[in-house]
């Protein structure tokens, strides 16, 4: 058991020595100080199990010292034993202190009595300290359990939504197919008439609903990974190529700096392409020309394994604190079009690979998204 501090306060060195002699065999850490001020200095930094406090001291007497000690919340319950000669006026004043664990020993001191009182209080202190620790642990456990419950509930809710969405997607696809078939046949029949522009609008609306539905379905469907070894640069290049409609004809520089880093990684290529695609798409819509997008890679470690850190930076408008907080939440969007699922999907995919994704901390123009992907290769 670790020793506890017992603070001994008396202006007479001889008395301090006496207390030390009496209490030495308790095996605790005795701290003798010569004034109330010294006692307070010690208490500022250290804990103690109890304070043995002489009442009559020059400068700052025992009562004054006790009053200052009591003002501190941390020391509110630290037991104080006053040492006093038999004096009625002192006893009256002690009555004024009849709160907390204040005790009195009368000089001349009977060693057995002092030792017994100190021992009892030290034990009380130990028990109380233990209790406080247990309480803290219990509290932490409760918080942890509540968090787990909330997560479980959220997962359950997501699973239910997922199931609903899968059913919805299936039924909607049949309906969308009928719209598609009818629109296509209609457009063939009225191709050269002015009304054909209406058909184009219907087609666009159809495509939008279709895309929205697929995004929501993709987000809620269980993610099954088919991992193979890929060179990550091949994946982001493909993602970039897929976005050519969004950057063709614009002033765009797509700069990649990977050093000599081995970019091979065990991932499912298709969803990871989606991650890069979603990030790059955001960059393209956040930046006015000239657009500068830079990918930078470095070696990293994640859960004691090799990993690759990929930073994708743009020179766009950047994110507000609010946006930073919510960027990975589903249905959070700052764009007028889109589902608000892009970054939520990206996070889900990266985490399914055992990786991490975050907005990099640096301020300044533009946004930097940082991904950590474990290599997961032997």
């Amino acid at each position: 058991m670790d020793k506890v501090n017992i603070l001994l306060v008396d202006d007479q060195p001889g008395k301090l020595l006496t207390y030390e002699a009496i209490l030495a065999n308790l095996g605790e850490n005795l701290v003798p100080v010569k004034s109330g001020r010294e006692a307070l200095q010690f208490l500022l930094k250290e804990e103690c199990a109890l304070i043995l406090l002489d009442i009559v001291m020059p400068d700052m007497d025992g009562f004054e010292t006790a009053a200052v000690i009591r003002q501190r919340q941390r020391l509110e319950r630290t037991p104080i034993i006053f040492v006093t000669a038999y004096s009625t006026s002192d006893l009256d004043r002690i009555k004024g202190y009849q709160y907390g664990a204040i005790d009195v020993v009368f000089a001349p001191i009977v060693p057995e009595i002092l030792r017994a009182k100190v021992l009892a209080l030290v034990e009380l202190y130990r028990v109380r300290r233990e209790l406080a620790q247990t309480n803290e642990q219990l509290l932490a456990e409760i918080v942890e359990r509540r968090r787990a419950q909330e997560l479980a509930l959220q997962a359950e809710r997501l699973a239910a939504i997922g199931q609903m969405v899968a059913g919805l997607a299936h039924e909607s696809r049949n309906a969308l197919q009928q719209i598609q078939a009818s629109v296509e046949m209609l457009s063939r029949r009225i191709r050269s008439q002015p009304e054909s522009s209406l058909v184009v609008e219907i087609q666009k609306a159809h495509d939008r609903i279709h895309r929205l539905l697929e995004e929501v379905r993709g987000y809620s469907a269980p993610l099954k990974l088919n991992c193979e070894v890929y060179d990550l640069s091949a994946i982001w290049n493909e993602a970039w190529r897929q976005l050519s409609a969004a950057h063709k004809g614009r002033d765009v520089q797509f700069h990649v700096d990977t050093g000599d880093l081995d970019l091979r990684c065990l991932v499912d290529g298709f969803p990871i392409e989606r991650v890069f695609g979603n990030i790059l798409e955001n960059s393209l819509s956040a930046c006015a020309d000239p657009v500068r997008i830079a990918i930078q890679c470095s070696a990293a470690e994640l859960n004691c394994g090799g990993a690759i850190r990929i930073r994708i930076a743009d020179n766009g408008v950047g994110l507000t604190d609010e946006q930073r907080r919510h960027i990975f939440e589903p249905f959070y969007t700052t764009k007028t079009s889109g589902t608000g699922l892009g970054m939520a999907i990206a996070k889900r995919i990266v985490e399914a690979h055992g990786g991490k994704i975050a907005v990099a901390d640096e301020r300044g123009p533009g946004t930097t998204i940082e991904i950590l992907l474990p290599r997961r290769r032997s």
Partner: protein, 197 residues
């Protein structure tokens, strides 16, 4: 690409039937018939021997994938399925059932066109490869038969290997028959002898 390719389509949705017929015709294919059930699809395929089958997975009487498996077992033919489901299990099953393409609704003409072209050419490749494999297997069987005939000649006529082979070649030339045919005659004759003795 040969566009006068005959197709049988199974789809129970009237709008989709009309759409597929119109679109496939527009693309230059010949829609032999449109059916609305799996049973009909199998029957019509058996009778009409189309060059391509397109079927919805959800048919009123059976699963389009089961129909596809049955059709394929009668005669191999490229099959494209259309489905509103996007489940990996379905796609996996489709692969096992010799389905060459899996289209997820809603489909457009611009999806249909390349899918059919690719499915047909992939099937063609596959078919060619299978024929080559058959030819190789045949060649291997022939080689074994010729070896046996050669062995018999060496034993019966006391020839060494090149002489036995030359005699086989000469016989084929003289009788105007293939080497494998001569080899078969010799092996058969040997069997006949062995049985009389």
């Amino acid at each position: 690409m040969n566009r006068s390719i005959s197709i049988v389509v199974a789809e129970d949705e009237p709008v989709m039937q009309k759409y597929l017929e119109e679109t496939l015709t527009l693309l230059g294919y010949q829609v032999l018939c449109l059916v609305a059930s799996g049973r009909e699809l199998i029957d019509r395929c058996r009778a009409l021997r189309p060059k391509l089958v397109i079927t919805d997975i959800r048919l009123p009487d059976m699963n389009g994938l089961d129909a596809a498996a049955e059709i394929y077992s009668i005669e191999p033919v490229p099959i494209i399925v259309i489905s509103a489901f996007h489940d990996p299990e379905f796609i996996e099953r489709a692969e096992r059932n010799h389905v060459l393409a899996y289209l997820v609704k809603p489909i457009k003409q611009q999806d249909l066109e390349p899918t059919i072209t690719i499915a047909l050419s992939r099937y063609h490749e596959f078919h060619t490869m299978r024929q080559e494999a058959d030819n190789l297997r045949q060649a291997l069987d022939d080689r074994k038969m010729i070896e046996r005939a050669k062995g018999l000649l060496m034993k019966r006529a006391g020839l060494d290997e090149p002489e036995a082979f030359r005699r086989l070649q000469k016989l084929a030339r003289d009788k105007n028959q293939k080497l494998i045919e001569i080899a078969q005659i010799i092996v058969t004759a040997e069997e006949a002898y062995r049985k009389t003795i």
